[in-house]
Symmetry: C2
Subunit: 239 residues, 2 copies
């Protein structure tokens, strides 16, 4: 039986600037947070925004024009999926389908727009490796961003990169509780973990990191969001 999960906000991360040692700062923030620390099999969920800042995925825009980042949206997209008024839903070069190519201007200075990391799986692997090397613990890392979706109002956090955790739990061949083979078989656990972390990070509180403890041992392993979650256009019915 799965055990209880704990989802802990990790405050204390300083304002991140390009070139900052984000992994070191995350380790320090975890150590500094009451009762958090870092242990094997913790899952660190880190907001895309601080990764983009540390990796200098920042572009200067006109602070007085709320639409001045719009040319960047098309530049970061490989195809526009839907457009209505100012809203552009597009497929980014990473394969994500989202609004404004994931570019946003919240929690950055008024003359800055933050692009998505170039390769968020790689960003996650780097932080995981740095935590292993410097803190001596084996954690999983998820890079989370806030996306909308069709048919349902409101946004949720999803994983745009991960390391050390299986993005999808494959239950094919598993029997259900009454012994029939399961029909619902592939659960996207990294998206569920990213959403769970959002619940303690909030949008307005400036908490960019959450730590999830108690994740089932079977969830850990290799995989990447780009390879395992991004659906190939040929098998997608909505592109």
């Amino acid at each position: 039986m799965p055990g209880p999960l704990q989802i802990l906000p990790v405050p204390g991360l300083p304002e991140i600037r390009p070139g900052d040692d984000l992994a070191g700062m995350v380790i320090d923030a975890c150590r500094g947070a009451d009762g958090v620390g870092l242990a094997d099999r913790d899952v660190l969920v880190i907001s895309q925004k601080v990764i983009s800042k540390a990796e200098d995925q920042l572009v200067r825009v006109d602070p007085d024009d709320p639409q001045s980042h719009k040319p960047l949206v098309l530049q970061e997209s490989v195809r526009v999926v839907r457009r209505r008024g100012d809203l552009i839903i597009s497929e980014t070069k990473h394969g994500f389908v989202c609004a404004s190519a994931g570019i946003d201007r919240s929690n950055v200075e008024p003359d800055i727009a933050a692009l998505l990391p170039e390769d968020s799986d790689r960003s996650a692997r780097r932080i995981r490796d740095a935590v292993r090397g410097r803190a001596g613990v084996e954690v999983a890392v998820i890079v989370a961003d806030t996306f909308g979706r069709p048919w349902r109002r409101g946004l949720t956090d999803v994983a745009i990169g991960c390391a050390g955790i299986k993005p999808i739990l494959d239950l094919r061949g598993t029997d259900d509780a009454v012994g029939r083979e399961l029909q619902v078989t592939e659960v996207c656990i990294v998206d569920e973990l990213a959403g769970a972390a959002e619940l303690v990070r909030g949008k307005a509180t400036g908490i960019a990191v959450a730590l999830i403890r108690g994740v089932d041992e079977s969830f850990f392993g290799e995989g990447s969001v780009a390879d395992d979650i991004v659906r190939d256009p040929s098998e997608d019915l909505f592109r």
Copy 2:
């Protein structure tokens, strides 16, 4: 600052049959589970399947034909959104867009298919009211089901009904950490809570209930999935 969240699996629910007193059984299971109990501001996340069983949303199908529930899919739908081979993505009469109109045959007897509850918000309200009346605690209730989504592989649990909790946290007018008005404004917390609960319920373990403790006080309030989350077709770009 948001506090830590705990997500506790609640084992011990017996096999549910039509007409069963589900609320009473959930209260008993929470009391029987080590260290769980029930307290004010707990969020109970309950799997759609046990609600459908208790409410007798069960239909007899040919146990030897895995497609024998397909006529029900069209019957429970108001429009087919996409179709490929055996896969039907449709809009249900509740307004959900999902595969097979939410009908499934896992965790039920081979000759049974379970339909979605008629009104999952009402189901959630009834359980919340029963818990208030019989256990004297004020909880929120979320009815969760497992849905796929476009563009991303894997399924996640989302809320199809709720009571006692705001489905969407509206951050419009809230300043971000650097004092700019937030662009990302409406977070669908009930979907994030449903997904978080799935992480401890799993699909194969037969645990139909999870309890989430530590949810921010500001999340509690009134609202329903049908009214607040189901997107009106006129504002939907993918229907």
